[in-house]
């Protein structure tokens, strides 16, 4: 990253990258763009750690009896894979990197509302992450990322408390980021940037931030109760002390189901930017796409009980949760149809970000539809806790969210770095990721219906063929992730200089903010006079 430390040459325009140098200018920065880069580097590191755990798991599963590790090690691998990927990659990924970088620029602000709190968020995230990694180094934790009681409170002999403290602290990072986004979006929009002109990326982050602020405190409370139970036997979750383990599941999923929308909504926001740009056409059904994000945020709080269909939960309660789980699928379907309709009569090109958008639409469709199988209670009774569930949420989280993240990183790479990435390598890597992903996770749907339970260190021999296919896919997928890491690093240092707006995209970040932006984002106060995605150059309308 030698370019990060160069002072501007004589006559060169100062940007947020060259305005200052030295480690202090990064670790004590309050510039949302620099904080976004701090997040970018740290979540990339966590993704690498979490991903390497996944590769070890898949290697172990090549043999029914376990190729490399004993059961305890395997159990720790899937636990740490889940914890790191959920709390230290997926939750912060798009919001803390792209959201942090782009939301102020997209709405025409100089920074987030609370720049110092933004930096505090990153420190909290790092402290949480370091605590979790310390738990790994000390021997790991084996409760599953779901920390179900009473296994986590009474029976596990691993570093449950240390890990829970790590997740607890990182949760505050998420709350503060959400709070910062909500206030920024409400109070700091440029003149003319009405709610109906907000880019959909901003709308989806607004919905995400609401969930972060309302949901995350509940998981924090749950983890505190878990600690009280484990250390002092408070009698909350362990029936031996008068508690009820089902209470833990209700509390845990009250956050953790909405949390999957924290993870996917920002990805939907990215896709809502990519599809119009590369179709050169305004988004179809702007308000439907915007309000569907809000609908997901609201209804998403009312479906947690679908994780408890086989727990002994009352049948009537299950019925309500099942119905609401179908309801929450509707706004996601609306988005997919509107993205598809946006392409109709467009003028479509196939740069790498658009390839990732296609990947997202296809894989998210499969991930969403397989969610309907799990909302159907009788089918869930057979499928829950099998590989079908693993396949389902990886289609949403990896097929959806990670695809959107990579698409977004490629799309805004010129904006962030001022340089272009190599298009040929990038398209090749996108193809490898798509193939590797499907080979990894599609066989797991079949495994699941055949009855293969998840979280198994060893398995019945008849499941070997599908497991080997999945492991082969995982190694391809791993390569697919390493290639972009290499060429993007190269491009950041040596890539050709990017023009101001390489995609011909609409939006303040491309049209009114220099590439890469200066510390204050704009040279003049931006004024918004047109709707978002106005690719055809239409007359402005204040209200559709």
């Amino acid at each position: 990253m030698s370019t990060l430390y160069q002072q501007p040459a004589v006559g060169e325009r100062p940007t947020y990258l060259n305005v200052d140098y030295g480690w202090k200018s990064w670790l004590f920065t309050t510039d949302h763009k620099r904080i976004a880069l701090l997040y970018l580097f740290s979540i990339t590191a966590f993704f690498a750690v979490g991903g390497s755990f996944a590769v070890m798991m898949r290697l172990n599963l090549v043999s029914p009896e376990g190729l490399l590790f004993n059961a305890d090690t395997y159990n720790k691998l899937f636990t740490m894979h889940g914890i790191i990927m959920v709390f230290f990659f997926l939750v912060p990924s798009i919001p803390a990197v792209l959201g942090n970088f782009l939301i102020p620029i997209m709405i025409g602000a100089r920074d987030l509302a609370f720049p110092r709190i933004n930096l505090l968020s990153w420190y909290l995230y790092m402290i949480g992450g370091i605590l979790a990694v310390t738990a790994v180094v000390q021997g790991g934790v084996d409760t599953g990322w779901t920390f179900y009681a009473p296994f986590s409170t009474t029976y596990s002999n691993t570093h449950v408390i240390l890990t829970a403290v790590g997740v607890f602290v990182a949760g505050f990072s998420s709350i503060l980021t959400g709070l910062n986004f909500i206030i920024t979006i409400h109070k700091m929009r440029a003149p003319g940037m009405t709610w109906s002109r907000l880019p959909l990326f901003v709308w989806s982050h607004y919905a995400t931030a609401i969930i972060q602020v309302l949901g995350t405190p509940v998981v924090a409370i749950t983890l505190v109760l878990l600690g009280l139970e484990r250390v002092f036997h408070a009698g909350i979750f362990d029936p031996a002390d008068g508690g009820d383990p089902i209470l833990f599941q209700h509390l845990f999923w009250f956050y953790s189901h909405p949390a999957v929308y924290i993870m996917i909504l920002p990805g939907m926001g990215v896709i809502s930017e990519l599809v119009p740009c590369f179709s050169r056409k305004a988004i179809f059904g702007y308000s439907f796409v915007a309000y569907s994000s809000m609908a997901i945020a609201v209804v998403g709080f009312l479906v947690w009980g679908h994780h408890l269909f086989v727990s002994g939960q009352s049948l009537y309660l299950g019925t309500v949760f099942s119905f609401l789980s179908f309801v929450v699928a509707v706004p996601s379907a609306i988005k997919v149809f509107n993205w598809t309709a946006t392409m109709y009569k467009g003028s479509i090109t196939f740069e790498t970000p658009m390839l990732y958008a296609f990947g997202f639409i296809g894989l998210f469709t499969i991930g969403g539809l397989t969610g309907l199988f799990l909302a159907t209670m009788a089918v869930d009774v057979h499928l829950t806790d099998t590989y079908f569930v693993v396949a389902h949420f990886h289609y949403v989280m990896v097929g959806g969210m990670v695809m959107a993240y990579l698409g977004g990183i490629h799309f805004w790479f010129p904006k962030i770095t001022g340089r272009m990435y190599p298009e040929g390598w990038a398209k090749f890597a996108a193809l490898i990721v798509f193939v590797g992903f499907n080979l990894t996770f599609f066989p797991q749907f079949i495994l699941g219906y055949l009855g293969a339970p998840r979280r198994y260190a060893t398995y019945a021999p008849e499941f070997q063929v599908l497991n080997v296919m999945s492991s082969a896919g995982a190694s391809i997928l791993g390569i697919g992730y390493i290639i972009p890491l290499v060429y993007l690093t190269w491009a950041w240092m040596r890539g050709p200089k990017a023009p101001q707006n390489p995609w011909g995209a609409k939006g303040l970040e491309w049209e009114q903010s220099p590439t890469p932006p200066p510390t204050d984002n704009f040279e003049h106060q931006p004024i918004v006079t047109e709707d978002a995605y106005n690719y055809a150059g239409e007359e402005a309308t204040l209200d559709r």
């Binding site: 305890d72 056409k281 003028s347 499969i366 057979h382 219906y449 339970p453 979280r455």
Partner: protein, 333 residues
């Protein structure tokens, strides 16, 4: 096993219908996926930008009819899934009230202990006859487990502190996997075994080979004496504690005015924590807490014994004893 089949063996009465529901879901999902894939692919090819000088396309902002169509039609299919899935779910988790073969399962790290009413016991094996409705009552000694038989398309969590029940009707003789589906610690993946489905005649032969030490009810009766329950819960006359004759399945008047049905959960709570719900007319703090003093298996034996006291066949001739009349109201035997 079944070659390339995407279905596990169908060995219970509901497996066929569940596979039908699953196939319905598959067809709807595959059609929807194919539609989206086709449209994306078709639009991408037909509306690709052919030259950098192509004019910018005219925007199409929205279409209310289209939005309504692609909201309502998918939701209509979802309602079918919801209704069908809910109907089957209620069926799976509501055991028939009569003529079931009751089998009791205790999960502990990392094995399944199975007790039959006749007193036979097994570990990691379950034997059931075809054509018979089998009701399982599940208990856990430690953490949450989940009892999963893919060939029957059914599972249920086994939650410490609760009894859980579900039922199935085996149809096809054979040997099928039994798994623990809820992660429960180190040897979770080895906490499994086999379910053997047998023809009724073969099942009777198998049963007659295994019983030692009396039926579950007899074992429960022994515990009832061993733990001293019998000194206060005197049968058929007024003791310091209520008689347990004809209590199971009947309404019980509590000292705080509430009425509860004396089911497995109530009996369980009253053994482990007797002061939680005291029968009207009896004193608190007479009976010690048995929380932590008694294993789940013994608890199940005691409950089977108490159930047997309400079995019409086991009732003494001469009608209900007077002591029960105080405790039991609104009885419809």
């Amino acid at each position: 096993m079944g070659g390339l089949s995407i279905f596990p063996p169908r060995a219970s009465a509901m497996a066929g219908e569940l596979d039908a529901l699953y196939t319905f879901l598959l067809v709807v999902s595959a059609t929807m996926t194919a539609l989206i894939f086709f449209l994306v692919f078709f639009f991408a090819v037909k509306y690709r930008r052919r030259s950098p000088n192509d004019p910018m396309p005219k925007p199409i902002h929205s279409s209310i009819p289209l939005e309504i169509i692609w909201t309502v039609i998918p939701f209509g299919f979802m309602l079918i899934m919801f209704a069908w899935g809910t109907k089957m779910y209620y069926n799976e988790y509501t055991p028939p009230t009569a003529n079931t073969l009751d089998i009791y399962v205790t999960g502990k790290q990392w094995m399944w202990k199975v007790q039959y009413p006749g007193g036979q016991r097994e570990i990691n094996e379950l034997h059931v006859p075809t054509g018979q409705s089998v009701k399982l009552t599940l208990a856990s000694e430690d953490v949450i487990h989940s009892f999963f038989i893919p060939a029957f398309r059914i599972k249920h969590d086994v939650v410490p502190g609760h009894f859980e029940t579900f039922w199935f009707q085996p149809t096809l003789p054979g040997r099928y996997h039994l798994f623990c589906a809820e992660y429960c610690g180190t040897n979770h993946s080895r906490m499994g075994g086999w379910v053997t489905v047998m023809e009724p005649a073969a099942y009777e032969t198998w049963l007659s080979g295994g019983a030692t030490g009396g039926s579950m009810a007899q074992q429960g009766e022994k515990l009832f004496e061993q733990y001293g329950c019998v000194t206060c819960h005197v049968l058929d006359q007024k003791g310091r504690c209520p008689s347990l004759r004809n209590v199971f399945g009947h309404a019980v008047q509590l000292d705080d005015g509430r009425t509860v049905i004396a089911d497995e959960a109530y009996l369980r709570e009253s053994i482990l924590n007797p002061n939680a719900k005291v029968v009207a007319g009896y004193q608190r703090d007479v009976m010690p807490n048995f929380q932590g003093q008694i294993s789940e298996e013994q608890l199940l034996q005691l409950i089977v014994y108490i159930k047997s006291l309400s079995n019409p066949a086991a009732q003494p001739t001469g009608g209900q004893p007077a002591t029960n009349a105080a405790a039991v109201k609104g009885v419809t035997p």
